[in-house]
């Protein structure tokens, strides 16, 4: 009996996900993560509301390297979600479905989100323009 190569079903545990699928999952994961960011935003407002001392201790806390790293990862998640979200908006308009361009758009949005995060980092930490 000859072995014929039949199409395989993309079973999740043995199937190497294409990069576009990984990005799609990351979009959802960053979305869920960012709702945590909204809560952190409300907490920061609440600290400012409580008074100068509460604000100062929060500022001391967020300036710790590990806290700051988590904040910037969160901001990167925001920009990644934003950039991939823009691609979703184009998809909704029926644009950007060319298969050969999928990875090109992907690099574009990864580059865009890194650039936005980097520029934000510079803006936040460079003196002036507050």
């Amino acid at each position: 009996m000859t072995q014929r190569s039949r199409p395989l079903s993309p079973h999740l545990q043995v199937y190497r996900l294409p990069l576009t699928a990984v990005i799609s999952i990351l979009h959802r994961m960053t979305g869920v993560l960012l709702t945590l960011g909204l809560i952190l935003f409300v907490i920061s407002l609440s600290k400012i509301k409580t008074g100068e001392q509460a604000f100062s201790s929060m500022q001391y806390f967020i300036q710790h390297p590990l806290t700051e790293l988590s904040i910037w990862l969160m901001i990167y998640a925001l920009f990644f979600h934003l950039c991939h979200g823009i691609r979703h908006l184009f998809w909704d308009m029926g644009e950007g479905y060319e298969k050969i361009l999928m990875n090109y758009y992907l690099i574009l949005e990864l580059f865009g989100s890194i650039a936005c995060t980097g520029l934000s980092y510079l803006f936040v930490h460079l003196p002036g323009a507050a």
């Binding site: 400012i48 604000f55 700051e68 904040i71 901001i75 823009i86 803006f123």
Partner: protein, 127 residues
Amino acid sequence: MSYQTPLAKARGLGSAKKGTSHWWMQRVTAIALIPLSFWLILFVKQLFHGSYADITHWLSSPFNLVILLSWAFVGFYHGALGLQVVIEDYISHEGLKISLVWLIKLAFFTGAMSSLVFALHIVISVG
């Protein structure tokens, strides 16, 4: 026995419910969040390097306050719509699913209201 017509019964069983408006509002809020999110970075700069006087002064500017609160409101709305989809996708038990969606919506509404009240409190006390 039920006097419901088969069509009415089928309509009642539909899963889409308010699917179209959900989908549409997800997009509308997404577009609004593109420019609004950059305002968050201005706020983060204040959080890292501003003095207490700086950040309260920054928040007291009506423009900053309106944009930042709009970001928070639209963000909470967008987040609630998004989490609803995630819950609907992964939780098959109908009762648990509905309860969680309600819980998320209530919690996010409370979050949006809290940000409004806290911000107003800051602005009024700085006066």
